[in-house]
Symmetry: C2
Subunit: 301 residues, 2 copies
């Protein structure tokens, strides 16, 4: 039996968690059923496919969803909550579907570092879980991904955040510009080239100038073809971490994400003289779903 | 009859110029016969196709080539000349093919603004022509393109330059990331959105953060789908022009290129409080070919 079924339902993947009455995760699943992989809006079918057996075993268990499933392209749009956002603000603005059997956590909107609109969906749930996992109420959080998010928490409230298009820019520049031409196909992570990219990010000239050096370092055989992708990765992470730490002053930065995504960020944040700490993204989002369900009185803590 | 046949032979296109005894261009041609469009290294055939009739009419006329034709992927590699580079340095390092009937102008290598290796090929010839056309021996030059070049000339010598991957980054980000999703297919240049992009480049957060605002400005309907590409263009040009003018101190910036490529750079450089001036790229490279041919005593001035 489950006290709660929770899903972090994103763009390409969905992760499902089954919680016992104490809020511990008793089972977890992952499927490539992100909202872009669900045809014709058949989200109810996709949900049944992923957790139908859990629902049949515990028909009364509430279901809580977070992530892009609450976007305009998702199952039902859950309008953004503004800043500052406490757990109770999210819990008070859940959007109900199927007569309340299923609820969706809203995203959060604010202004990024430049004054432009900025948005998160899914990370707000992760962050409240991560806060509990590290036993803090304040801090700076970095959530790597196609669109990396940096978030500042103060006294248990989400007060500021910023998105960086790092991961997606890396893929587009590597696969669709001349920079990829000198790169070997199956290259492993090269720590020295990655560190050289981080260092280059601190030099004058700006990112668009530094990008050309990915080609010239290869042309002059200063960095080999099997290390150039790591150099580009370090360069882009440097151009994310440098302005981020300038804006988010905390000495400690908690990285929330998978071990694979977190590893280069640990190096990068360390290179920029901040203290990195890692929390698994899965654990954080599961804990956040339970906390929000509790705050919304869907379950008893 | 021709005193000289000159070609600016680049990656995708080639432009040919026929010069009379006074160095005036009597005829010009353009063909999509850049080095990537010449199969199996048959450059001699491609040259015959483009200017065979000119050669038959003036068998004694020397032929001078500049641009990527002198790269490792071109007809014959013309090794880079170092900085500072005067016209005489280029003229003294021409690489001869076909028993000297044809000569290739070398490119120039140096260190960019970040200390990384940097290279130009073709622009060195344009710049010496542009210098004559504006009647100067010093100045800052901007040459827009897939890879924009900024060049500093002092007392008739090329002393410093830097490459920015602006044009290619624009295409990759527009066509291969989520940023293109909200953009209309056939969008005209939108001066207001372009100016907003230039202004965003001056805000805190860095380029990777600013890129996400291309999406968020669209999501919140602050910039329409038919103006978002102009916003992205302004954003990237701002991220080129800002570090470039910080490094190249001259108040006047001469933009060398086609009218279409130059127009947004005129706006951008103006927005960053420098005085832009435009010289047609065709005229500049033709003049540069003549000048280098003269310095090499291939023709008499």
């Amino acid at each position: 039996v489950s006290a709660l079924i929770g899903l972090d339902w994103g763009t390409t993947n969905a992760r499902a968690f089954r919680f016992d009455a104490e809020g511990a995760v008793s089972e977890r699943r992952e499927a490539t059923r992100g909202i872009l992989n669900v045809e014709g809006g058949r989200f109810a079918d996709a949900l049944a496919e992923m957790v139908g057996d859990w629902r049949r075993a515990s028909p009364a268990a509430p279901i809580l969803l977070c992530g892009m499933i609450g976007s305009r392209q998702g199952w039902r749009e859950a309008p953004y909550v503004g800043l500052p956002a406490a757990e109770a603000d999210l819990a008070g603005r859940l959007v109900a579907i199927e007569d309340g059997a299923i609820r969706i956590v809203p995203g959060v909107s604010g202004e990024g570092l430049s004054g432009a609109p900025d948005v998160i969906r899914g990370e707000e749930t992760q962050i409240f879980g991560a806060l509990e996992l590290i036993g803090a109420r304040s801090g700076t959080f970095c959530m790597p991904g196609s669109h990396s998010k940096w978030v500042e928490m103060r006294d248990g409230r989400l007060v500021r955040f910023a998105t960086f298009l790092t991961g997606e820019s890396f893929a587009a520049l590597k696969d669709h510009t001349i920079l990829g031409r000198l790169m070997s196909d199956a290259a492993a992570h090269d720590p020295d080239a990655f560190a050289a990219g981080l260092a280059r990010a601190r030099a004058p000239g700006g990112l668009l100038h530094h990008l050309f050096s990915v080609r010239s370092e290869g042309l002059f055989n200063r960095i080999g073809g099997d290390a150039l992708a790591s150099f580009l990765s370090g360069l882009l992470l440097g151009h994310e971490v440098q302005p981020a730490i300038a804006a988010f002053a905390s000495k400690d930065v908690t990285i929330v994400g998978s071990a694979a995504l977190a590893a280069p960020y640990v190096s990068a944040i360390d290179a920029f003289e901040r203290r990195p700490r890692h929390v698994a993204g899965d654990d954080a989002v599961a804990r956040g779903l339970w906390r929000i369900a509790t705050a919304a009185r869907l379950v008893r803590s």
